[in-house]
C-alpha cells in the first residue's frame, strides 16, 4: 500500500472517532424522539455515500461504453458493490428509527420506496455481473447500469403521485424541520467521515477488481498456451 493511502486511512479512522463522539456525546438529545434520533447521523451520511456510489457507477458505465476502458468498468463494479452495502445500511437503520418514532417499521412512502427499488436494481446489476461470462460482462453491466439510473427518477415521480393520492402515515419528522446548530455540526462531521470511508472502500474494491481482471486474463493466456502445445 502506498504511504498516501495509509495516511488517508489513519486520517479517516481519526475522523470517524471524532464524528462518532460528536454524534453520540456532543450533539443534544432530540426533545420528542429522544436518543433514537442519533441514528440520523449514520442514516443520512450512508444514504449520501450510497447516492454518490450509484452516481459514480453511472458515470463509469457511460465512460466504459464510450471508451471501452476496463478501468472505467472496474470503477463501475466497485462503486455498485459499495453502493449496495451502504444502501443496505440505509434500509436497515431507517426502520430501526421509524419503529419508535413513526410507530411502524416501514411505509411505502416515496423516498423509502425509491431507495428500496434502487437497492433492487443494483442487486440485479451485481447478479448480472456474476452470471455474465467473459469480457461481455463489462458491456452488459454498463448497459443495465444506464437503465437503472434512468429508472430512478421515474420511480420517485410515480411513487410520489401514488402516495400523495392517499394520506400517508408519516407525520412530521425528517431533517427538513430544521436542525439545532450542534446537530448540524455532528451531522456534517459524520457526512465527511462516511464520505472518506466510502472513498476508501471504493478504492480498495477497485484495486481488487483490477487484480481479479488480471488473474482472469492470466488464466485465459495460460489456457491458450496449453491448448497450443
Amino acid at each position: 500500500m502506498k504511504p498516501v493511502s495509509v495516511l488517508f486511512i489513519v486520517f479517516t479512522l481519526a475522523l470517524l472517532g471524532f464524528s462518532t463522539y460528536q454524534a453520540l456525546v456532543v450533539a443534544p438529545t432530540e426533545q420528542t424522539m429522544g436518543e433514537v434520533q442519533r441514528i440520523f447521523y449514520y442514516h443520512a451520511p450512508t444514504a449520501w455515500v450510497a447516492g454518490l456510489c450509484f452516481f459514480a457507477n453511472f458515470l463509469a458505465s457511460v465512460a466504459y461504453l464510450l471508451r471501452r476502458n476496463s478501468n472505467a468498468d472496474a470503477l463501475a463494479a466497485a462503486s455498485a458493490e459499495v453502493g449496495v452495502v451502504f444502501c443496505t445500511i440505509v434500509l436497515i437503520t431507517g426502520p430501526i428509527w421509524a419503529r419508535p418514532v413513526w410507530g411502524i417499521w416501514w411505509t411505502w412512502d416515496a423516498r423509502l420506496t425509491t431507495t428500496l427499488v434502487l437497492w433492487l436494481i443494483y442487486v440485479g446489476y451485481l447478479i448480472l455481473r456474476r452470471f455474465a461470462t467473459g469480457s461481455q460482462t463489462q458491456t452488459l453491466a454498463a448497459v443495465v447500469a444506464i437503465f437503472g439510473f434512468v429508472d430512478v427518477p421515474i420511480v420517485y415521480m410515480s411513487i410520489r403521485w401514488f402516495r400523495t393520492q392517499h394520506p400517508s402515515p408519516v407525520i412530521g419528522g425528517g431533517e427538513n424541520s430544521g436542525l439545532d446548530p450542534a446537530m448540524w455540526h455532528a451531522f456534517l462531521w459524520n457526512l465527511l467521515a462516511f464520505t472518506c470511508v466510502g472513498i476508501i472502500f471504493v478504492t480498495a474494491r477497485y484495486r481488487l477488481q483490477k487484480l481479479e481482471d488480471q488473474v482472469e486474463a492470466e488464466h485465459a493466456r495460460l489456457a491458450l498456451e496449453r491448448s497450443m502445445r
Binding site: 461504453l65 427499488v117 433492487l120 436494481i121 440485479g124 446489476y125 447478479i127 448480472l128 452470471f131 455474465a132 461470462t133 469480457s135 461481455q136 458491456t139 452488459l140 454498463a142 448497459v143 443495465v144 444506464i146 437503465f147 437503472g148 434512468v150 429508472d151 421515474i154 420511480v155 415521480m157 410515480s158 411513487i159 403521485w161 401514488f162 393520492q165
Partner: protein, 224 residues
C-alpha cells in the same frame, strides 16, 4: 435492404413461425390461466374485493406470462448462429430489435385479448369507467413491459443462467410501469378518480425506455 425492410421481414418471419408452432401464445396463455386460478385460491375474493385487486391480478399474470415468451424471443436466433450472421451483416441492429419488440407486443396483446373474458368470468368484472381508457392503458402498459423485456432478453441470453436472469433485471426496472398500469386499471375499473396521470406516466416511460433501448441495443448485440 432498408431498415424498414429488415424490420418487416423479421417480423413476418417471427409471426409465421409463431402461427405455425403457437409456442409462445400457448405457453403464455396456459401460464396466465394458472396464475389466475392460483390467485383466486390464494385470495378467495368477493365480487367487491375483486374489483379492487383485479388491476393488480391482471398485470401480475401478464407480467409473469410475458417473461415466458420473452425468454424464447432470441432463442430461435441462436440456433444455426443466426445472431452471429446478423452481426456481420450490414443490416441496422435497431431494425432487428424493433421487429422483435413488435412481435412480442403483438403476442402479449393477443394474450390479453384472450385473457380478458376469463377475468370477466372468474372475477365478475365490469368496468365502471370508460372502456377506451382501458384499451389505451393496456397498449401503453404492454409496450412498456415488452420493449424492456425484449431488450433484457437479448442481454440475458448471453449470461450463464439465461432464463433466470431476465426477470431479475426486468422486474426492478419495470416497477414504475407496473405501478402505473395497476393503478390506472384499478381507477378505471372502479370508476373512482381519473387515470390521466398514470396514462401520461406510461407514455413518458414508453418514450424514455424505447429511446434508451434503441440507443444501447447495438452495444448488446455486439458485446464480445
Amino acid at each position: 435492404m432498408s431498415a424498414f425492410g429488415v424490420t418487416r421481414t423479421t417480423l413476418v418471419k417471427d409471426l409465421r413461425m409463431e402461427w405455425r408452432s403457437k409456442d409462445a401464445i400457448n405457453s403464455m396463455l396456459f401460464f396466465s390461466l394458472l396464475v389466475v386460478v392460483i390467485f383466486s385460491f390464494a385470495f378467495n375474493p368477493t365480487a367487491e374485493e375483486s374489483r379492487v385487486i383485479a388491476g393488480g391480478l391482471i398485470w401480475v399474470a401478464v407480467l409473469f406470462a410475458a417473461v415466458v415468451a420473452l425468454n424464447q424471443t432470441w432463442a430461435h436466433e441462436l440456433r444455426n448462429q443466426v445472431l452471429d450472421a446478423y452481426r456481420v451483416s450490414p443490416a441496422p441492429p435497431n431494425a432487428l430489435f424493433l421487429a422483435k419488440a413488435l412481435g412480442n407486443f403483438l403476442f402479449v396483446v393477443i394474450l390479453e385479448a384472450l385473457m380478458a373474458p376469463l377475468f370477466v368470468v372468474f372475477y365478475q368484472l365490469r368496468s365502471v369507467g370508460p372502456l377506451w381508457q382501458l384499451v389505451v392503458v393496456t397498449l401503453l402498459g404492454t409496450w412498456a413491459l415488452v420493449v424492456n423485456g425484449t431488450f433484457f432478453a437479448a442481454l440475458s441470453i448471453r449470461t450463464r443462467s439465461r432464463e433466470i436472469m431476465l426477470p431479475l433485471i426486468l422486474f426492478p426496472i419495470s416497477i414504475p410501469a407496473v405501478l402505473a398500469m395497476v393503478d390506472a386499471t384499478t381507477t378505471i375499473l372502479s370508476g373512482e378518480g381519473t387515470p390521466e396521470f398514470w396514462m401520461k406516466m406510461l407514455l413518458v416511460y414508453d418514450v424514455v425506455f424505447t429511446m434508451v433501448c434503441l440507443l444501447l441495443f447495438e452495444s448488446v448485440l455486439n458485446a464480445e
